[in-house]
Subunit: 107 residues, 2 copies
DNA sequence: TCCTCATATGAATGATTGTTCATATGAATA
DNA sequence: TATTCATATGAACAATCATTCATATGAGGA
């Protein structure tokens, strides 16, 4: 079962399954914190771990999920793996969410 | 702990808690199906239930969650309660997600 | 080549959440 | 006002998922 974006005229075919999976990735505080840090700068796992304030293991598990969802990319730099945001949709997505939350309850 | 959208220059202050809660609402297949139906037209609970193919109770539970998140609005019409999308962010959000999913794996 | 250090991964557990079933609520209309 | 019908709600259960702990992996530098 799938639905296209008839409203915007976009010729996009996407399943409900894929969409919920995508939003599920964005629905975790730890993963959001990671993304927020990566919006500012590319970082290695250790640094993300420090900034977000969670264990290396926890961060690594979550980065794997972000990778699978194509929200972050990895690049090796010497001994460390440097993670970065993979595309602009993420940024827009987060801003859109912030806008919505900010307007909740108004009017 | 909160973060503002320094990247877009938006003066929005939102907590990680609020953001994850928002995306969590969008991360369920049933709720997404409901929203998709409501993008086409305002509907009463019974009709949503029929179209989505789930029990009245299940739909009602999910509508309550969508209401609390300010994603849908209710209006009484005689004996029935008519639900509709509450604002344009939802539409944009869904389109953005579809775009991202559609571009996954490319390049 | 061997060791080391950064990162990944597997299993286990506690917490969260969606659905069902049963029932309550309450506005509309007869 | 009494009844009915649409919708909401509570409790219970199964399933999903994030974190921890322990350990594996494997590229880099000596």
């Amino acid at each position: 079962m799938s639905k296209d974006a008839k409203h915007t005229g976009l010729a996009v075919e996407v399943s409900m399954e894929q969409m919920s999976a995508f939003f599920k990735v964005l629905s975790d505080k730890t993963r959001l914190s990671i993304l927020m840090e990566l919006l500012d700068a590319s970082l290695c796992v250790m640094h993300i771990s420090e900034r977000v304030g969670m264990s290396q293991s926890a961060i690594s598990h979550q980065l794997a999920i972000l990778r699978r969802a194509d929200l972050v990319r990895v690049k090796r730099n010497g001994k460390t793996l440097v993670y970065s945001i993979s595309d602009e949709h993420v940024r827009l997505m987060l801003d859109m969410a912030m806008l919505h939350i900010n307007e909740e309850g108004k009017q």
